[in-house]
Symmetry: C2
Subunit: 399 residues, 2 copies
């Protein structure tokens, strides 16, 4: 799918190197390049401690135009003071020099250890070759080079059409699901050859991030380096996609789907995770309350261990809703595992349906729906099971 | 220490039975009894879904007098509807009958599986023997019987003196530390023979709980069954302890120390935990912000894995402070492992001090101090290391 997707994206090239920033000697430097300046939008960390590459890149992205992104893994260039800022600027300068671009068209991004200075000699030594190696087909190598603790590289792609002109959306991400992914940097880079109006591109990215990366991590628990960028170079030559049109709706759909796919890969990459579970809350007093309740269930260690234990332990779910802060009337709550109702009006529906729910729990991907029956609010979160040894104690607690 | 403490406490008796509520056949029923009605105070779950025993007991405790507490493990009697309420009332009725007490002097408490009806036949069958077995020395058996996933029973004791009259404080708890102890019920019962003024007893309990159990769990992440009770039967015959006196200060000290000791035992009981770490934040803009920042550090999986890896990874600490929501100026933060300063004004102090900090990390109990240098706010949280296999990946990330 990735290859299929990437084929349709005009004007983007990629390269990767093992520059020795990671002690393991694995690839740790990636370059993303567009043959022409691309319109861009970004979502950045909300952490009050902001890493140098974000300080340097965020204002450049906000100016709306970007042609290259230099990404390194192995060192986050965070908590590195003024030297860190100088190093981040120098990274951009090196990439700009090697590519013959103005500096303000280059974004830089880093992930890895905090508090150590960037080994600039390695950037100086490898940037020339990195620029020289750029090719359209090397997206998988780039995705590989931005990994840190990820068990696998993460790529996703989609193909769309705007007024008869085909375009592609291609994205890579790094990040591994954990109980609290609170400091594991999440990076994602989206490339599209569609021509998209600048304001709508920004809005579409925020909508897509809200429904994907912000539905797997705990709000506010962001690393110092988090960054999601979209570059739209317009080489598909479609009429500009503007908000409120069918073409905009379609583009939003593709972008959201691609980012959701990456987000689910991050969930699945939780060490040892065997299941991806959607927690869907409806009937809440409002959308924010629905998301709050869904998040509470999705981040409960005991709920997640029950998923691992394939135990339809709805008591843990109802309790997690109870402490979420969302309005809840315990005597009205309904709970479903896929289509199987295990709780009606706050009480269990019996052993037969619970046995059916256990069958659902044995599948690798399913949905838990909680209906609070109080209003129209809906929200969802994605989570994994907890499979680590220690949680077996909780998973087996009921048996 | 427990035995020593319990000897000095007049008029309290305990008993325990294996009633078959737990499938394991282990002790699951405990009775706490005071020979005379005791003044009492309680702190109860803030979960919006409240288990039946809490619904029944909270108003009784708020009336200020209690003579017996019947506690079962193996079944939480939560999400059990009207039947659950009837069963909780019946439990109190059974204990009152067996002890010859009015029902409103009996509190009931349950912990275990949610959503299943209490096996009332087992209560009916065992209550007589349970009441008959009461003895002053059986506190350890009672503490044993309230365990669920706890690796060990938890008891703590202190001896005090008020106007020349010695008194004792004895407490038991159940609960095991987890990343989020969000649904693992926390129960604690404190017995003292001191004579304590009712309003001050309530205030002293809240102060002690705030500095202990509420400094290890994530605020708001309470189970449906959480309950902390203190019973003061006055048999030490000291002049009534009233607020604002040296005797009150001393009593507060004993109560706080006993509950903190239990809370640390709960932290230590995190499956596989090898270290208990105090996270002390000072210099915050206010006390609430200090506690917020301390909690953020204490609940970060990545910080906790670094403790396990004995890695002085202060970057993870500074980042957890950064996303806590507390005011922080990254360029002013100082961080210490015990007395060893690893961060000054937001920057690392170098390899030599980091090596010294690593020595601190090798000890089983230490303090991480974060000085935000913004104001006078102080707060602390207690946490454990994360030792599970999966986190080894994060613990080894830097090496």
């Amino acid at each position: 799918m990735v290859t299929k997707g990437s084929k349709t994206i005009k004007g983007f090239k990629f390269s990767a190197r093992a520059a020795g920033i990671k002690k393991s000697g694995k690839p740790d430097l990636a370059l993303i390049y567009s043959e022409v300046p691309a319109r861009c939008a970004g979502v950045f960390t909300t952490n009050k401690v902001v890493a140098a590459p974000v300080v340097v890149s965020a204002p450049r992205i906000r100016r709306g135009s970007c042609q290259a992104v230099l990404v390194n893994s192995g060192n986050a260039n965070a908590c590195t003071g003024e030297q860190g800022l100088r190093d981040a600027l120098r990274c951009g300068e090196l990439a700009a020099g090697a590519l013959g671009l103005p500096e303000d068209l280059v974004a830089v991004s880093s992930t890895g250890v905090i508090g150590l200075p960037l080994p600039m000699d390695k950037f100086e030594r490898h940037i020339g070759q990195l620029a020289g190696d750029l090719q359209a087909g090397a997206v998988e190598e780039a995705a590989e080079a931005i990994r840190t603790t990820d068990a696998f590289a993460k790529l996703s792609a989609a193909e769309g059409e705007a007024d008869g002109k085909p375009y592609g959306v291609l994205a890579m991400a790094k990040g591994a699901g954990m109980i609290h992914p609170n400091m594991a940097t999440m990076l994602a880079f989206v490339m599209t050859d569609a021509c998209v109006e600048a304001g709508f591109l920004d809005q579409a990215l925020r909508t897509a991030v809200d429904g994907s990366f912000n539905s797997i991590t705990v709000d506010g628990d962001t690393s110092t380096n988090d960054m999601v960028l979209v570059l739209a170079n317009g080489l598909a030559e479609n009429p500009e996609i503007v908000a409120g049109t069918p073409a905009a709706e379609a583009f939003q759909g593709h972008l959201s789907r691609v980012l959701l796919e990456l987000a689910k890969m991050i969930v699945r990459d939780g060490e040892g995770a065997t299941k991806v579970v959607e927690i869907a809350v409806k009937g809440a007093a409002g959308a924010a309350q629905a998301k709050q309740a869904a998040r509470s269930v999705a981040t409960s260690s005991l709920v997640k261990t029950a998923f691992f234990g394939e135990d339809a332990n709805w008591g843990r779910i109802i309790a997690a809703v109870g402490y979420s802060g969302a309005d809840v009337d315990p005597n009205r709550v309904d709970i479903f595992f896929n289509e199987v109702q295990v709780v009606k009006d706050g009480l269990g529906t019996g052993k037969e349906l619970e046995a059916k729910a256990t069958e659902v729990l044995k599948t690798p991907e399913f949905t838990v729906t909680v209906d609070l029956k109080l209003g129209e609010g809906q929200g969802r979160y994605y989570t994994s099971d907890l499979t680590y040894d220690y949680v077996k104690i909780n998973a087996d607690y009921r048996s």
